[in-house]
Symmetry: C2
Subunit: 208 residues, 2 copies
DNA sequence: GTCTATATTGAGATAGAC
DNA sequence: GTCTATCTCAATATAGAC
């Protein structure tokens, strides 16, 4: 909701309006390569007008990353609130993450590219790591209850699965015919059931 | 081979020696955020000494990206040279890509973060897109011959699968106990067979 | 092959008027 | 809430000596 809010007054920006334009530019050129000058040009403002709304370029990044992280953390909260089996809760997390990714594509894209150069970035990375840890715990639980195969390491599984989900930001574009539900179905289909035709030869046969 | 070459003369760098240090720094801070100054510090050289070996910062990037792209394209060449079924050739491509990723981790990591800001970057992205297109064609072929399930779009399948593979650069670190073969096995296991325990309830039952 | 300058450009950020 | 003008610093790159 916060990311697609329309500005109230026509002339003059509020924080959210500037944020939307800034995040789009950061994703296009990269955060470091986006100067306050080109940002001002895109907004049709002067550089100093931006500083009326944000105290620094860093603060713009901070706000954007918080939007993505809050949404992702919300998915875990919702899943933890459900009382189902670990496999059910994991399913909710995977589908929920795809939805967050699609609905907050700009800020999540930005989050996934953060390297940890500044304090703001390091704090965001720490929140991401905490998220990953909780997902890994959920995978372990699902393995322990017998819902997921146990021959793969839980952290490798959660990393590969979220690697697949996160890669969606590289190609998904809104209005391209595929909606979030369909993509979530595809992700869960590949992650849980795999690509192989049930009737085809197994890899063991193919590779010896 | 080219990326781990030891320098011949002890004092004084050759191009490869500078390249290794530069790529490591680019991956740590991001290309744009890495100045020639910190690069010089890491090398124990002055900035101008670097310009003796490379005409520009851009040229350093160009060399590094070419290393990654050549290796990945080589994987496709090898697979195309084999005469097996499409499913077998796809298997070779997936495992080969994991190996390239692990063996040329620095340059591939750099490649995966390129945004397309400069001509050098745009050319690299074009080569990446060509690679992806050939992989998608291979997936289609495997679907047509009945080796892979056909209810998923071939381009979505190849994107998700390579999203999983590419995400390895985010967490794999050499000497961490897991070797490339093991990771390739895990990737192929998840991609082809999925995570679900064969005997467990199916998703349809879980979600209604 | 490396150095000490230095030229030049553009960055993030501020002052103060309107 | 936005502007013009400017400060300050750091960036890429070059010149020319050793």
């Amino acid at each position: 909701m916060s990311e697609n809010t329309l500005r109230r007054g026509r002339p003059g920006y509020d924080q959210q309006g500037i944020l939307d334009v800034a995040v789009a530019a950061f994703n296009e050129y990269g955060y470091d390569a986006t100067s306050m000058g080109v940002l001002a040009d895109r907004l049709g403002l002067s550089k100093s007008a931006i500083y009326h709304h944000f105290t620094s370029k860093d603060e713009i990044l901070d706000r954007a990353l918080d939007s993505a992280l809050s949404a992702l953390e919300g998915v875990l909260e919702q899943a933890d609130a459900s009382t189902g089996r670990a496999a059910d809760r994991l399913d909710l997390v995977l589908r929920g993450a795809v939805h967050v990714l699609v609905e907050r594509l700009p800020s999540v894209t930005l989050l996934l590219r953060v390297r940890g150069n500044t304090e703001v970035e390091r704090l965001a990375l720490a929140r991401r790591r905490a998220f990953d840890k909780r997902v890994t715990a959920l995978v372990s639980e699902a393995q322990a209850e017998g819902s997921l195969r146990s021959d793969l390491d839980a952290s490798v599984v959660s990393r590969l699965t979220f690697g697949m989900i996160n890669s969606i930001v590289e190609w998904y574009r809104p209005g391209g015919g595929e909606d979030a539900d369909r993509i979530a179905d595809d992700v869960v289909a590949v992650a849980l059931d795999g690509l192989r035709m049930p009737t085809a030869n197994r890899v063991e046969d193919l590779l010896g």
